[in-house]
C-alpha cells in the first residue's frame, strides 16, 4: 500500500492564481482531512469528509473548496491565492473501529505534505 499520497510536493503561485492540491489514499478509509501548518505552528483543519459525497468545514475553510467524488480522492482547491495561504498542506485519512458498542475514530494517516508559497 502507498498509504496517503499528495501532489505536488512543492508549488509557487502568484497572487490571484488558482490550483488544486491532490490527495489519494489506497486504504479504503472513509474519513479524510485537509490541514494547513504555518511555520512553527500547529495543524489547522481546513475541511474534512466522512465519505464520498459528504464534506464539511473545519476551522479555517475560507479561500478553499473541496470535493469527494470517490472514497480514494479528496482534492483541495485554492481559488485566488493570497500570501496568507503560504503554508504546508497535509492530507490525512482515517477509519472507524469499535470499542465495546461505541464507534471509534481511529488514528489518522498523514500524507507527506505539499509546501505552497504564494508571492
Amino acid at each position: 500500500n502507498a498509504g496517503v499520497t499528495q501532489t505536488p510536493k512543492f508549488r509557487i503561485l502568484k497572487i490571484g492564481q488558482s490550483m488544486t492540491l491532490q490527495c489519494t489514499q489506497d486504504m479504503n478509509h472513509n474519513y479524510m482531512y485537509w490541514y494547513r501548518q504555518d511555520p512553527g505552528m500547529g495543524l489547522k483543519l481546513i475541511y474534512y469528509s466522512v465519505g464520498a459525497g459528504i464534506t464539511d468545514k473545519g476551522e479555517v475553510p475560507n479561500g478553499y473548496n473541496v470535493s469527494r467524488s470517490t472514497t480514494e480522492d479528496f482534492p483541495l482547491r485554492l481559488e485566488l491565492a493570497a500570501p496568507s495561504q503560504t503554508s504546508v498542506y497535509f492530507c490525512a485519512s482515517s477509519y472507524s473501529g469499535t470499542s465495546g458498542r461505541a464507534a471509534l475514530l481511529m488514528e489518522q494517516y498523514f500524507g507527506p505534505g505539499t509546501r505552497l508559497t504564494v508571492t
Partner: protein, 110 residues
C-alpha cells in the same frame, strides 16, 4: 477553541522523563497524540478514549481526565529519537472533526 499544550518546549538529557499536557475547553470524546519530526508529517502515537481505554503502539503511556478535559503524555527514559514536536488531537462527542493542540517541542540531548 484550540487545545492548549504545556509546556511549549522542553529539553531533556537521554534517560530523563517528561510529561506533556493537553487541555481543552470543550467536552472531549477522545484524544490522539502525534509526534512530528522537522520537515515530516505527523506520526500517530496513541488514542485515549472516554472511559480510560488506550490504544497505541509505542512504549509511551498517557492518561485522559474526562472531568477536567485534559490528557497527559508520559515519556519515560527518553531517547534521542523522541525529539520532535508533540501534538494532541481532540475530538468531541458527535463530531468527526479533529482539532489539534498548540504543540510541544521536545529536544533530547545525548
Amino acid at each position: 477553541q484550540q487545545p492548549v499544550q504545556s509546556p511549549q518546549a522542553v529539553i531533556l538529557r537521554e534517560g530523563e522523563d517528561a510529561v506533556i499536557n493537553c487541555s481543552s475547553s470543550k467536552a472531549l470524546y477522545s484524544v490522539h497524540w502525534y509526534r512530528q519530526k522537522h520537515g515530516e508529517a505527523p506520526v500517530f502515537l496513541m488514542i485515549l478514549l472516554k472511559g480510560g481505554e488506550q490504544k497505541g503502539h509505542e512504549k509511551i503511556s498517557a492518561s485522559f481526565n474526562e472531568k477536567k478535559q485534559q490528557s497527559s503524555l508520559y515519556l519515560t527514559a527518553s531517547q534521542l529519537s523522541y525529539s520532535g514536536t508533540y501534538f494532541c488531537g481532540t475530538r468531541g462527542s458527535g463530531t468527526y472533526k479533529y482539532i489539534f493542540g498548540t504543540g510541544t517541542r521536545l529536544k533530547v540531548l545525548a
